[in-house]
Symmetry: C2
Subunit: 500 residues, 2 copies
């Protein structure tokens, strides 16, 4: 085999794997959006077959031989292919350690868990979900043991979503946030509360859907390559390549801000995914590099831009047009203040920018303890409720609005949550950098996202998975990650907003 033949073979293999990933992602998307409710077992049957084949293709001796050959000749490869070989070998080394039958069984478990979680959440029945969640955490611990026996299991999970992340880093990061945010939240709690009643009323689905499409248009999302669906829990998914991305939202008939900021958040994910370099399509380099960087983009659009005064001023007339009766006697400034109301609450996805990190900290604490074997899944609801009381001062009335609220665990995404908080902090530092060359305020005031998107595309999006998350950040920032940029931003914004 010549190096050029091997490169061609690698390309063909990557295209094949992208096709399987397209099929499985679409089956997941269909299940979450439009599939009839009795069809989960049918999807499980199909996913078992496809994921077995995906596993086989990724780890079979021919593939390993091919990658090792290319790895031995890496000096002769362009940087992109060096990275593909590195990532593929890293995946294989992990996957090889997981027995195929267990891998396939886990995929089926996740399909069933997703279905049961939906029912459990609807009916406030944690006991229904408990056995499946127990199995998911047990599998995660087992897989961590197979793949990285030298690491603590939860460190393995964290590293899956953010290359190099450890409990030590998280503990330090969250300590900084806690030190700066808890006093801020305390001061806000003593200030005069913002009135957000203008966001509440009756908002029908059709009008909210039209508004969602307008928001996507304003953000510069190409609707020829990005669709919008509705699901219980909003998410973003790529189908096969960055040429077909879907975002979803959930319409709250009484609260216009809920779907509005879901769309902007998922829209941020979509923009990142959609703008990998075209040559990366159908390869491992396509799409975002880590969950932390992904969340830095989604929360960048959602909060740093979407909840800024300049953007709200621009978007307010659009809201008035979509919901004329509801916003007849309201001002842009009232909406700006309302969408930035800080208040300890129950639901993470609807939390404000400031208390959001405390929601994440609850989940981090719980995952850490379950993965360490210090907490049983059975005791999770009680611990959840205790920590919500301790961190946020709120009483959790039921598991639907408590431990069952997020889809992450039913999807097997243990170790994901910290990246939300990290992403928020990355975003603040990225915005400071962007401001050196882009007049962000004037862009937002004019609803002109092109220069902002252009900057993100040049500095972040185009690289897909080519650079490691830390390298990507350092290259664009020209300095180390510094969470105090984020805490400074929050202090400044909310000191003004609450006249502290």
């Amino acid at each position: 085999m010549t190096v050029n033949e091997a490169r061609e073979a690698l390309k063909a293999l990557q295209a094949k794997l992208s096709a399987y990933s397209h099929a499985t992602a679409l089956i997941y998307f269909d299940g979450a959006t439009t599939a009839p409710k009795g069809t989960a077992a049918n999807r499980g049957q199909t996913l078992a077959v496809l994921s077995e084949e995906q596993y086989r293709l990724s780890t079979c001796p021919e593939t390993v031989e091919l990658l090792e050959f290319l790895d031995a000749h890496r000096e002769e490869l362009p940087a992109t292919e060096q990275r593909i070989v590195f990532l593929a070998l890293k995946n294989i080394r992990d996957m090889q350690k997981i027995p195929m039958a267990e891998f396939v069984a886990y995929q089926q478990l996740l399909v069933e868990a997703d279905d049961v979680w939906h029912t459990a959440k609807e009916t406030n029945d944690f006991a229904l979900f408990e056995p499946l969640l127990t199995q998911i955490f047990e599998t995660q611990r087992r897989f961590a043991g197979y793949c990285a026996p030298e690491k603590l299991p939860y460190n393995y999970c964290l590293d899956q979503y953010e290359d190099g992340l450890t409990m030590e880093i998280c503990d330090r990061f969250f300590a900084t946030l806690r030190e700066r945010l808890v006093p801020l939240i305390h001061r806000i709690g003593n200030a005069k509360q913002v009135d957000d009643s203008c966001l509440f009323g009756s908002f029908d689905d059709a009008a909210q859907e039209a508004f969602s499409h307008r928001l996507m248009q304003i953000m510069g999302i190409d609707d020829a390559h990005c669709g919008l669906g509705t699901t219980e829990h909003p998410f973003t998914i790529s189908l096969g390549s960055h040429h077909d991305v879907r975002i979803t939202t959930n319409y709250d008939p009484e609260n216009v801000a809920s779907s509005m900021y879901s769309v902007i958040h998922e829209g941020g994910h979509a923009l990142y995914d959609m703008h990998s370099a075209d040559e990366f399509a159908y390869t491992l380099l396509d799409g975002g590099v880590s969950m932390g960087i992904h969340e830095s983009q989604s929360r960048f659009y959602e909060n740093l831009l979407g909840r800024s005064r300049a953007f709200v001023q621009y978007v307010f007339p659009v809201m008035q047009k979509c919901f004329p009766a509801q916003f007849k006697d309201v001002t842009a400034e009232e909406v700006y203040r309302a969408v930035n109301r800080v208040t300890p609450s129950l639901i993470r996805t609807e939390a404000d920018e400031v208390t959001y990190c405390l929601h994440v900290m609850v989940r981090y604490e719980l995952e850490k303890r379950i993965m360490a074997g210090e907490l049983a899944v059975h005791d999770l609801p009680a611990e959840w409720n205790r920590l919500y009381k301790e961190y946020l001062g709120v009483d959790v009335p039921d598991d639907t609005r408590g431990v069952l609220q997020d889809s992450h665990w039913s999807g097997g995404n243990v170790g994901y949550f910290p990246s939300y908080a990290l992403g928020s902090a990355y975003g603040a530092q990225l915005l400071r950098k962007m401001r050196e060359t882009v007049d962000v305020e004037s862009c937002l005031k004019n609803g002109d996202f092109a220069p902002i998107n252009q900057w993100n595309r040049e500095n972040i999006w185009q690289y897909g998975c080519l650079k490691k998350p830390n390298d990507l950040l350092r290259d664009v920032l020209g300095e180390d990650f510094d969470p105090t940029v984020f805490t400074d931003y929050l202090e400044e914004k909310y000191t003004a907003l609450y006249h502290l």
Copy 2:
């Protein structure tokens, strides 16, 4: 290999193939319903990979060896598995004759053709679609040559959709219809026309969607296993097994009957697909046996039941509830007469029961001549228009409402159309048989589809693909197929309706 081992291997292979068929069907369904419009090429890329693997799995030496081994031991197999082996070998013998590269290229061609057809239809631009349609017919001729060189190419196409169907049979069948229906249409043309204005007005999508769900419920379609989507051209598709079926419709904002009868038609297909014996799931026996039998079910529900006086009487109050303003001053009898208005028209899917067969005959004539090399695709629009004038007496104003109206050719379904007319005729004879034991009129008057569905399930649906279409019909009817039952039914119904 023991026979039992081989049977297990066959089961596993069937399950695998069902998974691929689930994935490809879902990608098609997604493309037709919710995918963003710039994503066809991305789907083509994935379908190429999956169909290549499907092809490989179906025809590889191991599979052939397995099937031939089982075929040699067929006496030891239950009847169901004998039939599976027979059907699988038949497919293989065909597929083996098609070079894999051509098969894969054809799948990609169909994805592109579907996309281009949509645009061509929207913009009334046949020239845009012509090169792709030319390639599709050429491929069909080439594949017919590979698979059945002893047959005329179009006979090969007909046989694909209805086992044993030939031009000779079609010519005879259509001659009977022509002989009986042309005079009937002529007499109707001279009678006082029915007023169908009550069906026209303004019907919003949301109300039509709610009405569609009510219709599905009335028909006894289990919504836990059957979904409803919207597409340009309505269709029914099974995803992986009969446990997940989707139907689609198209809402005409000005004509309530258009989607109403699409839903009932596709609902008939869905009922058939959904009620294969459970043991047939994930095997070749799952779902309907032929297009003719399939259409006998869909057109049975649509016309024989759905356009009967008894059903319209039952459903009329439901229509009034869904569209109160539109049906305020209308009677059930007026709706009954309106949905049975006979008039030569442009669009097949909206044609009445009587002229419908003439629409099919136009397509049959054209396909026959193209496949015989007697007509070029380039000349298709002119010939289409000429035949519509000759058969139906109508002038085709543009290709959108002419040759571009159906999705069949862009989907490669050459030879499908005759089964619509055959199915209609089968249905009439099935209804006569059903009446011997079921009080169909009283069921319809009470909106109680259970006894009707039960009869169809026992006599037709449960068998899936176990029996050959002809055997299935003969077993249930106890006599040969006789198209005059259908023409008698039409004559009787429309003589009364038009006071002839």
